[in-house]
Amino acid sequence: MKKTGAQILCESLIKEGVEVIFGILGGAVLPLYDTFPQYPQLRHILVRHEQGAAHAADGYARATHKAGVCVATSGPGATNLVTGIACAYMDSAPMIAITGQVARPVIGKDAFQETDITGITIPITKHNYLVTDVAELAKTVKEAFHIAQTGRPGPVLIDIPRDVQQEQTDFVYPDKIDLPGYKVISRGHPAQIKKAAKLINEAEQPVIIAGRGIIISQAYDEFKEFAEKAQLPVAHTLLGLGSFPGNHILDLGMMGMHGTGCANMAVQNADLLIAIGMRFDDRATANTTEFAPNARIIHIDIDPAEIGKNVPVDIPVVGDIKSVLTALNKEIERREHVDWLSQIEQWRYEYPSLEIRQSDELLPQYIIHQIYEATQGNALVVTGVGQNQMFAARYFTYTKPNSFISAGGLAPMGFELPAAMGVKIGRPEELVWCVAGDGGFQMTIQELATITQENIAVKIAIMNNGYLGMVRQWQELFYGRRYVDTKLWNPDFIKIAEAYDISGVRVKHREEVIPAIQKAMESPGAFLIDFLIEPEENIYPIVPPGESLARFFEPSRTELWGEKF
């Protein structure tokens, strides 16, 4: 029986296990939307802006390890997806972005709402397609999901002209894929694994750098066994939080520009770094020429192009992390590293990175810590970008696998709210906290309507300091305290929430924090807390730009605690 392109697309999505689509319609996807009622098993979430659709699909993907699907119309719909696609690409999240395109006869004629979205997205997708023949559609969807979800995951865009959605053909979903240029190396080379194990067995001052690859590979158990067996302390990249229990004795927390003193000192003084599923991002390594000067480096990653890209590596192991760690666990010896671990404990004591200073003001560190206390870590935390993100990364202890969802690479402000929607829809049984800044929140604030329309019970905590906080901190520290255009006039967020039919409270004082968090968690639906925090609170430690990881600075205990210490 012949089916239309739109029907073929829906049935192909169902074959790929898709349950949810985030999107917003327009002329070039009308034939697709017209067929949605025939497929009630596909839940469509109507967002208010395409950027919201892309971030929601991204959040869904990170939370579920399945490709998130977003849909937009041609032209402005497609270009509005771009930020979200670029974000998923930088953080290796599987995504299928489906865009309508103008009808084939007018492609290239600068038709109404025509944009070359495949051209635009070449550098920010793992692959993309313009489907010009309906007979190619099912095969294209099959390939797209395979590419998006295997190897190093990433976004794939499928651009479908309106008339292809309407054209009919026989529907056969292929069972085989023929992609001669696409190879996934899943198992690490045994000789490389042996070499890596030898270095690990010989190391006296080893440190693991744990990246998001461990989470993508869902290698939590293998990773824990690995770290524990050889007593290897674990520093995290931002996106590596949630790959290892944050309350474990071997856990050093986050390294990098705003990493803990202990993690940064351990990395800089290591004789061996075991970098797992990370890409030596400049925010993690700081100055690469002075990075870990005495360390040999083992780099385990599924993407061969990451090896040696930013930092020279001694032993590369290319493969899926779960498979590589399983093999490595058989090769490594039990070690204790007593001296090294006691040196690390010394740094942990010496650098009070996790301590919260004494203050009558409402401090974001305290708020985040209280959310941790109230949830006991049993929540998924989705963050915005900037200070709120760093506070959330540092003052919540991520004990639950994959419980920290944040945009690390592209780092677009406004990620938090739509991504939290996607996370909650993907994992409805989980408590989802959305930690926002007052600046970023206003970049995708329109999704409050989606939250109400679709009854998505996310708990929103705005760290409202009346500034673009991270930029203000940089102006304070590196631009002579000249606060150029970082002060924000803000609307009344509680009234905004009310207008969207969402309950909320404003918190000005420390003693109101715990009751507000409790109220949010007891409330059955979405809830917003507007925390009016100390406006000029900084995130410390900080490694000044261009400096080495060891050159971080932070207030001393005396400064944190005054005379009492």
Partner: protein
């Protein structure tokens, strides 16, 4: 490390937009292409690209791996260190008068090049060879006045029976 010329040979799927993907990758990662030649290969549906890129070995290895990540790129080899045959084709339109024509034709003969078009004021020369040969001929013809040049860029295969 020093910048040198590297010859990359890529087998790519013969599909729309592949050249754009390859060129876009060089631009995005700030790699320099000196020349890029593309045409059919021995495999139906696959084209062979010869790319001459300038950079140090680590940069070129990075671009090679990035190219391999493109879904439409089947295989990429850096054959710079290998024994290879390289050729380039150039068409050179040179000013020629009754008094210079025979001298030009002598030079062309020495280079085993061909005259492919003759007009009252010019000759068009076709030359095949490695870049050195093409550059030498071009240098000699410049004295007569070169009006137009079109070069294909390098194409290359490794010597011997291995593929």
């Amino acid at each position: 490390m020093t910048d040198t010329k590297h010859t990359l040979v890529a087998l790519v799927e013969d599909k729309p937009g592949v050249l754009n993907r390859v060129a876009s990758l060089f631009r995005r990662r700030s790699f320099n292409i000196e020349s890029l030649a593309v045409g059919g290969s021995e495999h139906p549906g696959l084209s062979r690209m010869t790319i001459v890129a300038i950079g140090d070995s680590a940069q070129v290895e990075q671009v090679r791996k990035q190219l391999e990540k493109l879904i439409n790129v089947v295989k990429v080899s850096d054959i710079t260190e290998e024994d290879m045959v390289t050729r380039e084709l150039a068409l050179i339109k040179v000013k020629a008068t009754a008094s210079t024509r025979s001298e030009i034709m002598q030079i062309v003969n020495i280079f085993r090049a061909n005259i492919v078009d003759v007009s009252p004021g010019s000759l068009t020369v076709e030359v095949t060879g490695d870049e050195g040969k093409v550059n030498s001929l071009l240098g000699l013809l410049r004295d007569f006045g070169v009006k137009e040049v079109s070069r294909t860029g390098r194409i290359a295969l490794t010597r011997g029976s291995s593929s």
